[in-house]
């Protein structure tokens, strides 16, 4: 397509889309306006109905829990796809060293970095656990806590290097975490049906408002999401890191691997 035709197409698209966009923007509530009606409703109903202080958790894991279940499996499918695409023979061994290709200088790691990572790693993991466990009372929840946990494992890589990282973070554990988390979430949907309740109905005792043990089933679902996200993200990092490593044996095309 010639540049002139492209500009003409752009002008045509702008002519059609801009009035719509302008009217939508003009219809938005003014910046800094009071909370919208839906938010006010949620704020009024949820503390009494579900005994949780974090409304976002209440929506994600209870009122619209089915959506979150779908998102959970989207994440699982995306990471499974990445693993299938990237993993050759390289995903299996853990003896080799990363980034050791001929003609590539190896820069020694400074002691300050090692110390900083050894201090920050456990603290990051602890904060991740805190975010997961306080999902119903403070901002955050399973996804956020899970990602923080995964970045905690990355600090091991930054501090200890590739071999130490592969030694501490085992691929089968990550598989178990990821799949187990998704299974736990799915079971949270199915288990209430055994008691005659609806799919994902909150059948556990709701607990007291502003107590970490509030929200009933939400806590278990949060745990499932945290496991799946922490395992999945670490798996993703691991597979990408493997790409920079020289394989012990070359991948054979068409070979059944992983």
């Amino acid at each position: 397509m010639s540049p002139r035709a492209r500009v003409a197409l752009l002008a045509l698209a702008a002519l059609i889309l801009l009035p719509g966009a302008a009217s939508v923007i003009a219809g938005l509530p003014p910046f800094g306006a009071t909370i919208a009606r839906y938010g006010e409703r949620i704020n009024a109903i949820t503390p009494e109905a579900r005994h949780v202080a974090n409304m976002v958790s209440a929506i994600n894991f209870d009122l619209r829990g089915l959506d979150t279940l779908g998102e959970e499996f989207m994440l699982l499918a995306a990471i499974t796809g990445t693993v299938i695409l990237l993993r050759g023979r390289r995903g299996e061994g853990k003896t080799g060293r990363a980034m050791r290709r001929p003609g590539r200088a190896v820069i020694p790691r400074s002691e300050a970095v090692v110390l900083a990572c050894r201090i920050a790693g456990p603290l990051t993991a602890l904060f991740g656990l805190y975010v997961v466990l306080h999902a119903t009372v403070t901002p955050g929840g399973g996804f956020q806590g899970g990602v923080i946990l995964a970045s905690g494992t990355l600090l091991i890589y930054l501090g200890e290097g590739y071999v130490g990282w592969r030694d501490a973070v085992r691929s089968p554990w990550l598989d178990a975490l990821e799949g187990g988390g998704a299974l736990l979430f799915a079971l949270c949907g199915l288990a209430p049906m055994l008691t005659g309740a609806a799919f994902m109905q909150n059948v556990l005792p709701l607990g007291t408002f502003r107590d970490p043990f509030s929200g009933g089933l939400m806590l278990v679902e949060n745990l499932g999401v945290a496991m799946a996200v922490a395992g999945g993200f670490t798996q993703l990092f691991l597979e990408f890191m493997e790409e920079t490593r020289e394989a012990d044996e070359p991948d054979e095309p068409g070979e059944e691997s992983a």
Partner: protein, 83 residues
């Protein structure tokens, strides 16, 4: 609050523009990380701490790191002769 929000919006615009204008891939990744950090502060100022936490972990740590590693994997190929 009146000063902080416009300042943060300006910072967001500036760091976003920087991501587009920086042409070196390695520097671009760091520009993305900085943009993620600015967005984190903006989300926090707009009272969305949940989103801020996600943005901090995903936008300014996980995604730039994956990009860095991908770039590294591309660069570890033995260099071709330069013409």
């Amino acid at each position: 609050m009146t000063v902080i929000l416009p300042l943060l919006f300006l910072l967001t615009a500036a760091s976003g523009t920087a991501v587009v204008l920086v042409r070196d891939p390695t520097r671009q990744i760091f520009a993305i990380a900085v943009n993620g950090l600015v967005l984190t502060i903006l989300f926090d100022a707009l009272q969305a701490p949940d989103v801020a936490l996600s943005e901090l972990a995903v936008g300014s740590a996980a995604v730039p790191l994956l990009f860095l590693v991908a770039l590294m994997a591309v660069r570890t190929q033995p260099p071709e002769e330069k013409s």
